[in-house]
């Protein structure tokens, strides 16, 4: 049981890290701000999301798990807002 749980964590957390890697690569390599923004959003959504899901079995108690989910939701909100605002700002000249 414990082995399975740990395996689940290892797989999902590693996958999350891969998405962070992809996001960074995109941020560095993509040619213009809008595509870079796209890459960043992926990392935000999926990277953190996968890590949170991966850590859920490790959390002791419902409250601790809930906090993890809250963190993810907050990050989603911030990321979405940033995306919209940055997209609009870069869409304008100047």
């Amino acid at each position: 049981m414990s082995v399975l749980r740990d395996l689940f964590t290892i797989v999902l957390v590693s996958a999350g890290a891969v998405f962070f890697l992809a996001g960074t690569a995109g941020l560095l390599r993509f040619p213009d701000p809008l595509t870079r923004l796209h890459a960043l959003t992926k990392a935000d959504n999926l990277g953190l999301g996968l890590i949170v899901i991966g850590l859920l079995p490790q959390a002791d108690g419902i409250l601790a798990g809930l906090k993890l989910v809250v963190v993810w939701l907050l990050a989603q909100l911030a990321g979405a807002a940033a995306t919209r605002l940055v997209a609009r700002a870069t869409g304008r000249p100047g």
């Binding site: 999350g16 890290a17 960074t24 941020l27 701000p33 993890l68 907050l74 940055v86």
Partner: protein, 96 residues
């Protein structure tokens, strides 16, 4: 397990801090902002991983606060930087 989680925290941090190169290069302020946001998200992930590794709920609190403040910082960036550029031609008491 703890070792693995700490290692992953390190990996995530290392990866996103490479993205900080965008802060250096720019060229647009939006790029700098995105790089900083990526670092913010990465830090939150790293804190969560550390919390799980140490098994300390207080560290999760730190992650909650970091996320809140990351959102706050983005709002501050946006409301100060981009809008002011867009509205530079509007009369504002601070500008004259």
């Amino acid at each position: 397990m703890a070792e693995f989680l700490i290692a992953m925290a390190g990996v995530v941090l290392a990866v996103v801090s490479v993205g900080l190169a965008r802060v250096l290069w720019g060229p647009a302020d939006a790029d700098r902002l995105m790089a900083a946001q990526l670092l913010g998200t990465g830090s939150v992930a790293a804190v969560l991983l550390l919390a799980a590794a140490v098994g300390s709920p207080a560290i999760v609190d730190a992650a909650v606060i970091l996320t809140l403040l990351a959102a706050f910082a983005i709002a501050a960036f946006v409301s100060s930087q981009f809008d002011s550029d867009a509205t530079a031609d509007l009369p504002r008491d601070q500008q004259q």
